[in-house]
């Protein structure tokens, strides 16, 4: 008779936010896998309603201390579409520079302190630093370069305050940008070295059949704009996002699950998707390193996302250097606009993957509707499906070892649980049960 057993990871470690993992087995048959997100709902979409649209970049930045720029960029682009604002090329370049800073600090942290320990059977970045002090120090310095760029351009490293609808509140001085250049020249080489280091890790032979989804732009490595494309040939305008992907509630998660609307299947967003779909638009240096380390694309091994992150850090340093070297202060740094009733949406590429925002504003400049779909909620179902495929390979050991191996896979996605917990399905009991559909009341973010 088969024995039923459960493996529980009560609290995932080295991920942002609070979540657990529940696996139910009947003998060796996997009956259920649930990525359980129990962090309370954050209600940001509800907070935004009725607020002046100028507050949106600063409020949405508070959703995440690791990727505030992703929220700010998505918000301002969506709101500018609603207002009919066209930004200048100078503002556009400066926004890309800001995003480079976020990719550098977020990827640098994840590569060295969060995911790399998994390849050396150590429990933390501290233990890893004991074995690889030079490499961990390099990672910490890379993160510092990203933070310093955010501070110089955004006003502070965490939750920048210089991003405005229409541009920036203040264009930095030339010397503020130029003094970053020597450190960024070091950073570019350090990013190359870091990518070579992680490419030499011993990766599990684990290939999946993903539909990978990211932005793609014909002229640049997509960060702030582009079409939404996939490895199965999807190519849509951002305006068609909600017709193509939809969020669903599952009982075990305060974060919604995103699935494709046409067939209710999962998809994968993040650095691996971006590199797979846009490799030829990485900078020359990143492409050369990708060739040198024989990084084959499309790569469908989630553990190798750490290599994709490395390539993106190289790209971010390369592009940041180019912008920093050419930078001249400019006016206007913010485009004026008049309030009008309107609606706009935008998608950008957060460090963890595609992020989508949509807003409606009224003619008094107030937000009347907000919808935010972060990358982690889009990856959640995919992570569960990955685990179902991964579990038979790691069930041989004791339960603790199995749990540890599952955590490794989850961490390869760099999930940001705090960002994704935005589910609220309100049930009002007035003698009859009445559910209010999401979109009507969404105390979410």
């Amino acid at each position: 008779m088969s024995e039923t057993r459960s493996i529980k990871v009560e609290a995932l470690t080295r991920v942002e936010g609070e979540g657990g993992l529940h696996i139910r087995l009947n003998g060796d048959v996997i009956e259920d896998v649930q990525l359980s997100i129990y962090e309370p709902p954050r209600f940001f979409e509800g907070f935004l309603r009725g607020r002046p649209l100028e507050e949106v970049p600063d409020i949405t930045a508070r959703i995440c201390g690791i990727c505030p720029v992703a929220y700010q960029m998505s918000a301002v682009h969506a709101l500018e579409q609603a207002l009919g604002v066209t930004i200048t090329p100078e503002i556009r370049r400066l926004r890309r520079l800001l995003y480079c800073g976020e990719w550098i600090e977020s990827h640098g942290l994840h590569m060295h302190l969060l995911q790399a320990p998994d390849f050396f059977n150590v429990a933390s970045g501290i233990e890893l630093a004991g074995r690889f002090p030079k490499e961990v120090n390099r990672g910490l310095k890379l993160k510092k370069q990203g933070n310093e760029l955010l501070e110089a351009l955004g006003g502070r490293a965490i939750h920048p305050i210089n991003v405005a609808v229409g541009g920036f509140y203040r264009a930095p001085k030339k010397e503020e940008m130029q003094k970053l250049i020597p450190a960024f020249e070091w950073g570019l080489q350090a990013a190359i070295d870091a990518t070579r280091w992680v490419a030499g890790f011993d990766f599990p032979d684990f290939q999946r059949l993903y539909e990978m989804v990211s932005l793609s732009h014909p002229d640049e490595y997509a960060m702030n704009e582009g079409r939404i494309v996939s490895t199965s040939g999807l190519s849509i305008d951002v305006a068609d996002y909600e017709a193509t992907f939809a969020e669903h509630h599952v009982a075990h998660s305060t974060a919604l699950h995103s699935l494709k609307t046409v067939d209710k299947t999962s998809y994968h967003v993040g650095p691996l998707a971006r590199v797979n779909l846009n490799r030829e638009r990485l900078c020359e240096t990143a492409q050369r390193v990708a060739d040198e380390i024989r990084f084959e694309t499309p790569c469908m091994n989630p553990f190798k996302a750490i290599i994709a992150r490395g390539l993106e850090v190289i790209h971010a340093f390369d592009e940041a250097l180019s912008i920093l070297r050419d930078y001249r202060p400019f006016k206007p740094c913010r485009i004026d606009y008049e309030y009008r009733h309107g609606e706009g949406c935008a998608a950008t590429e957060a460090p963890r993957g595609l992020i989508y925002h949509r807003y409606k504003v009224d003619d008094a400049g107030k937000v009347v509707f907000a919808k935010i779909v972060p990358p982690t909620s889009q990856n959640q179902r995919q992570i569960e499906l990955d685990l179902i495929d991964w579990l038979p390979r790691v069930l041989g050991g004791d339960d603790q070892q199995t749990a540890d191996d599952c955590e490794r896979l989850i961490r390869s996605y760099d999930p940001c649980i705090s960002c994704s917990t935005h589910f609220l399905k309100l049930t009002i009991d007035r003698g009859r049960s009445e559910e209010i559909e999401s979109g009507e009341i969404r105390g979410e973010a």
Partner: protein, 172 residues
Amino acid sequence: MSNPPRILVAGLGSAHGDDRAGWLVAEQLAAVDDLPSDVIVRKAAVPLDLIDWLDNVDTLHVCDACRAESHELLVRQLIWSDGRLISAEPNDNRPALSLASRHRGGSHDYGLVEVLQLAKATGRLPRHVVVWAIAGSVFQPDDTMSAMTNLAVAKTTELIRDGLQTTEASHA
């Protein structure tokens, strides 16, 4: 030629109740006119920020709120020794205090002890590390700072300022 070693005073905290103590000490010290020129004062929301600021730092002072059952102690001085924080006072048998920097909730965030361990492992730990544990009792959003923690902040600022000025005088 390398720059002379520096002293970093970092206030750890948040805007919530007594957890603001570390920031307040940093703000008050930054406003002192005659602070020695090699002293840098910064505010941090999470301990991991400290890692970015340790280059060429010889002495690190960290001011952070701690949970205390009573305010009897006001402020307690701890030093980093052999991989842990111990009381700066010999034969101190008082119960350990729990440092209460308000984390954002994820294990992306390292606590202060972990950050000091990371600094040690990467060879970046300053020679001297002093942690000023400031007693507090209210840490919820929208709490206002308690009167006793306000007193503790003033006391901590005074102790650090006097110590820094004494150090400078002895170097003069």
